[in-house]
């Protein structure tokens, strides 16, 4: 018996002429772990909302077709019965938690079901200990970290004991470690309790191997549905579809017969080949650029930071003895745990925070004496949430707003910025009506319109899918080529590996390591992309997809030659 059966489902959001999903047929057997991938606007969220019964009940709109849960049509369920059958965890932990403390939050759903107090206590205790939340039971929710909040959201849904768990990008707002913890928990629930899981995720490198089945969606339709990741990888390469993790992409893109989904499998495949001795074989080593020493040039630099210290008024030291120079055309990525001082460093550079001891010059201005408004036109800053920028009725006005504030004249710069960010067709639209990726580009445009010399971005890849990340990366490379210096804070190792030049690693307020990305990413266990992990101690150096492809091609060619010789 299929736990979920979708038959000929089509749906239009209210006042929308374009179908969000169109003629979907799908059967998911009980206990399956299904991963749904696709770009923004592909209909993934709509599909799982239809399975949760939120569409059409909560959203309204035009609905056609049927959704069955255990062979019962979803609209025939009493709501109480339905919410005990399917549970749903949403993207943003902030906007799904209702109560002030953890215990009450988990009990909230149970109270809605009208359960007896004894049963509620039992469930609350059981699920908090299962999700390792027992110590946080009395905690005030606004004081928890993002990862813990999402765990609370998960626990509060699980406490209602649903047979089916739906998750809409549950880790997109979290740092990688917290995200991984959530995904591992979901996998455990699926394996140990047989809960059917339908998961939408963007960080495929973390969950591709967890799923029993992968659905690929595009333009409201399921375009590919397969249980084997290899098949998906081949299909995606053939159709030039971006939604596969780097490792699978690497092997599939050069036509390798086997496709690994984990680094472990990839290394097994590599080792089954005869690998020429990497040290004595000059041809392989020559493939990757030699890690260059980061030399800080003496030329006019944009940011010159010497022995910089920063403390908050309560005396807590956030930055300790930081030395850093940023030159025109630099592409630097700042990495490190939450709370290591990355954002504080950025806010010191653009004058949002006043430096403490030491020297900080940005474009030859002493930042101890300058304010953010004074250098806003040359040092641009894009914060995590693009929504914080957008309030005017059209995209065009957002750009004009910045120019106006900074006292700059629009000599065609806003048009040029819109063209560069491919926003021309959106110029007259309300930015709040645009998709995630477009909103971010509008926010970026609103700070780029002043033609800054330094662009700083705080976690720009959060919540973006592979193709949007790729787009963003390309825009940044273009800007870099024009001489703009770029400083990015990110947890996204894959993004850093693909686009950055230099990497700075921060911990507890100090810079603990810095260097070119080749030096920094290829010899690290955790701060390294899948490609580096794959080649670690087998071939030194590859970091980007392109380099990985070159090395793998050589290995294939050599092995073919040897096979022919034998």
């Amino acid at each position: 018996m299929a736990a979920i059966k979708v038959k000929d489902l089509s749906y239009y959001y209210p006042d929308n002429k374009k179908a969000a999903v169109e003629r979907i047929d799908l059967e998911i057997p009980e206990g399956q772990f299904v991963l749904v991938v696709g770009g923004s606007g592909s209909g993934k969220s709509t599909l799982i909302r239809a399975i949760a019964g939120l569409i059409p009940e909560f959203y309204g709109g035009a609905y056609g077709g049927n959704v069955y849960l255990d062979d019962k049509e979803i609209r025939q369920f009493e709501r109480r019965e339905l919410v005990q059958k399917v549970g749903m965890v949403f993207q943003d932990p902030e906007s799904q938690l209702v109560m002030t403390n953890v215990e009450q939050e988990i009990a909230f759903g149970l109270e809605n079901l009208g359960l007896s107090n004894d049963l509620m206590i039992r469930r609350v205790i059981e699920f908090t200990s299962a999700l390792n939340l027992s110590d946080s039971l009395p905690s005030f929710i606004p004081e928890l970290s993002g990862g813990q909040k999402q765990k609370v959201a998960l626990a509060s849904v699980l406490a209602m004991q649903p047979d089916i768990l739906l998750l809409d990008e549950p880790t997109s707002q979290l740092d990688p470690i917290a995200g991984e913890e959530i995904l591992t928990m979901i996998r455990r629930l699926n394996e140990e309790n047989g809960i059917t899981v339908v998961l939408i995720e963007q960080r495929l490198e973390r969950c591709f191997h967890l799923a029993d089945r992968i659905l690929v969606m595009d333009k409201g339709k399921i375009v590919y549905d397969h249980h084997a990741p290899e098949a998906i990888a081949h299909w995606a390469i053939k159709n030039n579809y971006p939604f596969i993790p780097p490792l699978a992409k690497l092997f599939a893109s050069i036509g390798y017969p086997e496709i690994p989904v984990t680094v472990k499998q990839g290394r097994c495949i590599l080792k089954s080949n005869k690998i020429p001795d990497q040290i004595t074989n000059p041809r392989l080593v020559a493939l990757v650029p030699k890690p260059e020493e980061v030399e800080i040039s003496e030329q006019e630099c944009l940011v010159d930071m010497q022995h910089l210290w920063f403390s908050y008024p309560n005396g807590e030291e956030i930055l300790k003895d930081i030395n850093l120079r940023i030159n025109p055309g630099d592409f630097i990525v700042l990495m490190g745990e939450n709370g290591s001082g990355k954002t504080t460093l950025m806010k010191n550079i653009n004058g949002l925070l006043k430096p403490g001891r030491g020297q900080l010059k940005a474009l030859n201005k002493d930042m101890k004496k300058s304010s953010v408004e004074e250098i806003a036109s040359v040092v641009a800053y894009l914060s995590q949430d693009p929504n914080d920028y957008l309030f005017l009725p059209t995209v065009q006005e957002e750009l004009a707003f910045t120019l106006n504030n900074l006292g700059l004249v629009d000599n065609g710069i806003s048009q040029a910025t819109l063209t560069r960010l491919k926003l021309n067709s959106q110029a007259e639209k309300n930015p709040r009506d645009l998709s995630t990726g477009e909103r971010q580009r509008v926010a970026l445009a609103s700070v780029l319109v002043s033609s800054p010399k330094l662009l700083m971005l705080d976690e720009p890849t959060r919540g973006l899918d592979y193709s949007l990340k790729d787009e963003l990366g390309k825009i940044l490379l273009q800007l870099q080529a024009d001489g703009t210096a770029i400083l990015v804070i990110t947890h996204d190792v894959e993004f850093a590996a693909e686009y950055a030049d230099k990497i700075i690693l921060m911990a507890q307020g100090t810079i603990i390591a810095r260097g070119s990305k080749y030096a920094m990413l290829s010899n690290s266990t955790f701060y390294s992309p899948q490609i580096s992990k794959l080649f670690n101690n087998i071939v030194d150096g590859p970091v980007t997809l392109k380099q990985g492809q070159d090395v793998l091609r050589k290995i294939m060619a050599l092995n073919k030659k040897q096979a022919l010789l034998v």
Binding site: V98, G109, G114, M120, F391
Partner: protein
């Protein structure tokens, strides 16, 4: 962020109903009585319980503030009320007020009302620091579910909005919006984008919140109320004691003992009133006495 901090003493380990009942009864009695002996007794009782709960430091702040208020009440009352017979000071004629004449009765009346105010403020102090706001809300949610949910949601969302507000200010400053310079109307105008962003974002968030509540079955039928608060012997002891004091108070009021005629001349204090007030105070001090025993004898702690 939250003023409440759990402490290890008996007052903090009472059932929220008991604490709320205690505070409520003190509040009620302070309104019923205008007799200074009873009011002083109530102040003594609530003060003892506040100290027992470990909130002397916080109470001091309340006290400082209220004493200033009381002095003001006394002065204004003494200047404007001229019905007292025991004149302490007689001064010159001042327009509007008339002849300055300060009587003992007017001062005493001011002091009496000041003590009443002090009792009320102290009972609020106890309510703020000795019981978790969530538990109180939960207690009332059995009767008024929706309004309690609205209150909870606001407590939950308020810190979030404050955080949003400061973040948006930063973001807009990076776009050249000036919040710290210029005339006040320019600054007021500049705050508009921040408010707009805040409103639009809050609206979006509230829709998502509603969706999440819907998905967790909110509004699907009659709700039950989750509570893990336990009833212990201490709650019964305290409740019986405060009920006795309430009943005594009501009885005294029916007997006409609650009021005290300050004017025209202060009557003598009746011994019977002192005895009744002592009984009420003793009963109201039961939580403080139990707390003292609780700390002194572990055996008592284990029994109650």
């Amino acid at each position: 962020m939250l003023t409440y901090r759990e402490k290890d003493n008996l007052i903090h380990k009472l059932h929220p109903f008991t604490t709320v009942a205690f505070v409520g009864i003190i509040f009620l009695l302070s309104l019923v009585f205008s007799h200074p002996v009873y009011l002083l007794g109530l102040l003594l009782a609530v003060g003892a319980v506040i100290i027992a709960a470990g909130h002397f430091e916080e109470w001091k702040v309340y006290l400082k503030f209220s004493i200033v208020m009381i002095l003001i009440i006394m002065i204004i009352n003494a200047i404007f009320v001229h019905v007292g017979e025991t004149v302490l000071y007689s001064g010159p004629h001042i327009p509007v007020i008339g002849k300055i004449s300060i009587s003992l009765e007017a001062l005493a009346f001011g002091a009496g009302m000041g003590i009443r105010l002090l009792v009320i403020i102290s009972s609020f102090c106890l309510f703020t620091y000795a019981v978790h706001p969530d538990r109180v809300l939960k207690l009332f949610s059995q009767w008024g579910n929706k309004s309690v949910l609205v209150m909870t949601l606001s407590t939950r969302l308020f810190p979030l909005m404050i955080k949003d507000y400061f973040r948006i200010i930063e973001v807009q400053r990076c776009r050249g919006v000036k919040f710290n310079t210029g005339r006040w109307w320019e600054r007021a105008k500049n705050i508009l984008p921040v408010i707009s962003v805040l409103l639009v974002s809050s609206l979006e968030r509230s829709l998502q919140l509603a969706e999440s509540m819907h998905a967790r079955g909110y509004g699907s039928g009659i709700r039950t109320c989750y509570t893990r608060d336990l009833w212990r012997p201490r709650d019964y002891l305290v409740l019986i004691a405060v009920l006795l004091s309430l009943m005594t108070g009501i009885w005294a009021a029916i007997q006409g003992r609650s009021s005290y005629d300050y004017y025209p001349r202060l009557p003598a204090i009746n011994l019977a009133d002192v005895e009744i007030a002592s009984f009420i105070v003793f009963m109201l001090m039961v939580p403080a006495i139990l707390n003292w025993g609780w700390k002194k004898w572990p055996l008592l702690k284990s029994k109650i």
